[in-house]
């Protein structure tokens, strides 16, 4: 039988051609298009659950706060406390009882009406013994809750707390409907302008406008939250307009690319995160205040900020955000002075420096800061060894809980959190009764002036005691589609409030 050579010779290449053309056909599939009136915002961390009153509220609040859930009061884009589900309130002269008048005709997304019984349930749940609210500590000052009628709720405090109103506006104190609390984690029910539709875990949360909303209807029909952890992927999603808003972009070195893109609006806002190098204040040589101050004077903060955050960020001299009205600039107190630093080290008994270990969480800002600090400390003969610590798991166990460390680097993201230096135990092992007394004064302050005075005093004490090296306040780098208006520029509360966002064309 004769063989037909030619046709067979072509066979492998025919197969190959088939595959190539099939791939080309698939490639012609249409790209994702944007429906009118919808916005997709991106955030780096997917929340563990969508109920901010359970667990840590940061990531869940970024999705749900002001979009799905609302509180008695709210913190607005400028950091002011404004009425929300309470129309107004009065505080008794002794500061021990807060009376809230509730907004009528508010319904939850499941149709249940909001009234004083819901408010009482929500607050009692936060302070109960089996509460799993991550910020419970800020609310335990509440002793009991009264409901004289369905439109009024009264909180009775065990001592005055000037911070309470602020924390009632925070995502951890949003109003939850009693019958939905078991399922809010996966299918949240709130009173906000958008209702929850679907959570595609690992990827996105879909929300749409709620017809029964008590306030002004939002301009958008639908809002989607997308979770993108990799900074390169974040940048790609923004530049391809797959994501319209990214409120907390994490790679400053890529941020410059957006500035030259006319289709994007960028904003360098002030955030609430202070990046500090905490030290174990009970472990030698860090138990000596002179050593801590000397290390601070070896640090050139602008150089550090340039290296770590591409220059975005503000130097700080104490544990306070420059965005706060109570902020005092203390960066000159122990600014870089190598001679003085060497003198202090010699006085403390370390004329030739010493060696120690920095346990650095696996976060890019922390590892970069560690490398720069290592070089800066060498100038005064101090040798830092860098040890990487898996974040959050290992770091929380090893540094935060067991305080088995010399120095670490971490960003503290909560607002007005200078009170951590009065916590015992806390990972700094810092103890100054004078500071603790000032924190009590602040809590008991009844006038805004007294409160401001207290915060200033507190900042000065730790700027001198230096339980941690105060490095910089991290920027809030945000970027959004140039055709959008109404996006929050600063971040007084970690959030992505889409209520006022609209397309201009």
């Amino acid at each position: 039988m004769p063989y037909r050579l030619k046709s067979h010779r072509l066979k492998p290449f025919k197969n190959f051609a088939c595959v190539v053309s099939a791939a080309a056909l698939i490639a012609l599939a249409p790209a994702v298009s944007l429906a009118a009136g919808s916005v997709t915002f991106g955030q780096p961390v997917e929340p563990a659950g969508l109920d901010p009153t359970v667990g840590s509220a940061v990531a869940s609040g970024e999705v749900t706060w002001q979009n799905i859930f609302e509180g008695l009061v709210a913190v607005d884009r400028d950091g002011n406390i404004v009425p929300q589900l309470a129309t107004d309130w009065t505080i008794s002269d002794d500061g021990l009882s807060y009376t809230f008048n509730l907004r009528p005709d508010v319904t939850f997304h499941n149709g249940v009406a909001f009234d004083s019984s819901v408010a009482k349930f929500t607050i009692e749940r936060i302070i109960s013994d089996d509460s799993t609210n991550g910020q419970k500590a800020y609310y335990t000052v509440i002793e009991s809750v009264d409901t004289p009628d369905s439109g009024t709720v009264v909180l009775h405090l065990s001592r005055p707390s000037s911070n309470l109103l602020y924390w009632l506006g925070f995502p951890t104190a949003v109003m939850v409907e009693p019958s939905s609390v078991e399922t809010n984690k996966s299918a949240p029910v709130g009173t906000g302008p958008f209702k929850f539709d679907e959570w595609r875990k690992g990827d996105r949360v879909l929300m749409s406008a709620y017809d029964g909303y008590w306030g002004e209807k939002p301009a958008l029909d639908a809002v989607t939250a997308r979770f993108i952890s990799d900074p390169q992927a974040q940048a790609a999603a923004i530049m391809s307009h797959d994501v319209d808003v990214f409120g907390k972009f994490e790679a400053p070195e890529l941020f410059a690319n957006f500035k030259s893109d006319d289709s994007l609006t960028t904003h360098v806002g002030v955030g609430e995160m202070e990046v500090i190098a905490g030290m174990n204040n009970q472990r030698p040589p860090f138990d000596d205040i002179r050593v801590r101050q000397a290390l601070m004077m070896a640090v050139d903060r602008p150089t550090l900020i340039q290296g770590v955050e591409s220059g975005f960020g503000t130097p700080i001299g104490s544990h306070f955000s420059p965005a706060s009205p109570y902020y005092v600039d203390l960066t000159d107190e122990y600014s870089m002075n190598l001679e003085k630093a060497a003198e202090l080290l010699a006085e403390a008994g370390y004329p030739d420096g010493f060696e120690f270990t920095m346990k650095v969480p696996t976060r890019s800002y922390a590892t970069r800061s560690a490398e720069i600090l290592q070089a800066l400390f060498l100038q005064i003969g101090v040798m830092a060894k860098i040890e990487s610590s898996d974040f959050p798991a290992t770091w929380i166990q090893d540094v935060f809980k067991d305080t088995n460390y010399d120095m670490t680097i971490i960003g503290h993201a909560e607002a007005l959190d200078i009170g951590i230096y009065a916590r015992h135990p806390y990972y700094f092992n810092y103890n100054n009764p004078e500071f603790d007394a000032v924190m009590h004064e602040i809590d008991a302050a009844v006038t805004p002036e007294a409160r401001a005075e207290g915060f200033k005093k507190a900042q000065k004490i730790i700027a001198h005691d230096m339980p941690a090296l105060f490095l910089y306040s991290a920027p809030k780098l945000s970027v959004w589609d140039a055709k959008l208006t109404g996006v929050w520029e600063n971040g007084p509360v970690p959030s992505n409030d889409m209520t006022d966002v609209r397309w201009t064309q």
Binding site: F16, A29, A48, K201, Q232, A236, F391
Partner: protein
């Protein structure tokens, strides 16, 4: 020994392997520092809040009790509930498999489509220009990590030309076209290193088999070069290729972890990575156990394929 008994013994052996594996997984994950409750609550939580959450999650029970309740659940089809999401782990894994299984199958398909023709082409005429080109491709594919290929694909094909989305997954409900177009670039990124390895193996196998007596006999009987290649050399060269394909499955899974992160695909890889960093231990245990089962099952399938591909193995039943 009857064949039935033999099969039962074999099955019991695999079961024992799985039990030992599951215990090792559990102990290793337990030994890792970090407490799920503390991680979920963040750094400002009070001690009593942490204790309340630990009790709620059942983490306050002794280790062996937790192991027994997990593995008992696995046998009855209840994998437990995720600490972080609060939803059943079985559902969570099933959702993610709907992305990862198509992705890895797509990548394997692409890898075979690239490597078989290329390997045969190269092996048919060792030393020719075609062989050189195939070898360059193989070197490149092995040397370059898949996530970097992924980044380049995003840069040129998504951002540059706008042909594909730059990441994310719209879900199968949004239409086949959208879902498939979201998987094309990740599949290519995942396929190229696999294709490189398979090209090398195919090329080597083709060269080796081409020197066997039966190929020479076929040629001597008047069979043309291409006919001998496709009818005699290639079928006999497939055995090592299939072995390699089986060995590549674990690499495909670990590759998927990186590629899914670059493309932000909600697959099993991102689930494993996220669960591990959050210490969502129950999810990690189940996912790792599933990986172990996949590897065992793939090995079984490869064993079965040998019998089909190599008639000599069929006679020793």
């Amino acid at each position: 020994m009857t064949p039935a008994l033999k099969h039962m013994r074999r099955a019991a052996g695999y079961l024992a392997i799985l039990l030992v594996t599951s215990f090792l997984i559990f102990v290793l994950i337990e030994a890792a520092p970090g407490d799920p409750a503390e991680i979920m609550l963040g750094t400002s939580a009070q001690l009593d809040t942490v204790a309340a959450l630990r009790a709620e999650l059942g983490l306050d029970r002794p280790m062996l009790v937790r192991y027994a309740s997990w593995i008992g659940g696995v046998f009855t089809g209840d994998l437990g509930a995720s600490y972080t999401y609060g939803t059943p782990v079985g559902e969570l894994i099933a959702d993610r498999l709907a992305v990862t299984v198509p992705l890895t199958l797509f990548a394997t398909f692409l890898a075979i489509c690239i490597s078989l023709p290329l390997g045969v082409w190269a092996g048919a005429r060792p030393g020719a220009v075609t062989d050189g080109l195939a070898t360059i491709f193989a070197q490149f594919g092995i040397a370059v990590p898949n996530f970097w290929i992924g980044l380049l694909l995003i840069l040129f094909l998504s951002l540059g030309l706008g042909w594909f989305p730059a990441g994310g997954f719209p879900g199968w409900g949004e239409g086949l076209g959208k879902a498939v177009s979201a998987l094309i670039l990740p599949a290519i990124a995942l396929a190229i290193p696999q294709a490189a390895v398979l090209t090398r193996v195919t090329r080597a196998a083709v060269i080796e088999v081409a020197h066997e007596d039966f190929v020479r006999t076929a040629r001597a009987k008047g069979l043309g070069r291409n006919r001998a290649l496709w009818l005699h050399t290639v079928p006999n060269a497939l055995l090592p290729v299939v072995t390699m394909l089986g060995l590549q499955i674990p690499f495909l899974i670990s590759g998927a972890v990186l590629v899914e992160n670059v493309f932000t695909l909600p697959g099993i890889g991102t689930l494993a990575y996220q669960a591990l960093s959050q210490r969502d231990l129950i999810v990690v245990q189940n996912v790792v156990l599933m990986f172990a089962i996949i590897v065992i099952v793939v090995n079984l399938i490869v064993d079965g394929l040998y019998a089909i591909l190599d008639p000599r193995l069929r006679t020793h039943k």
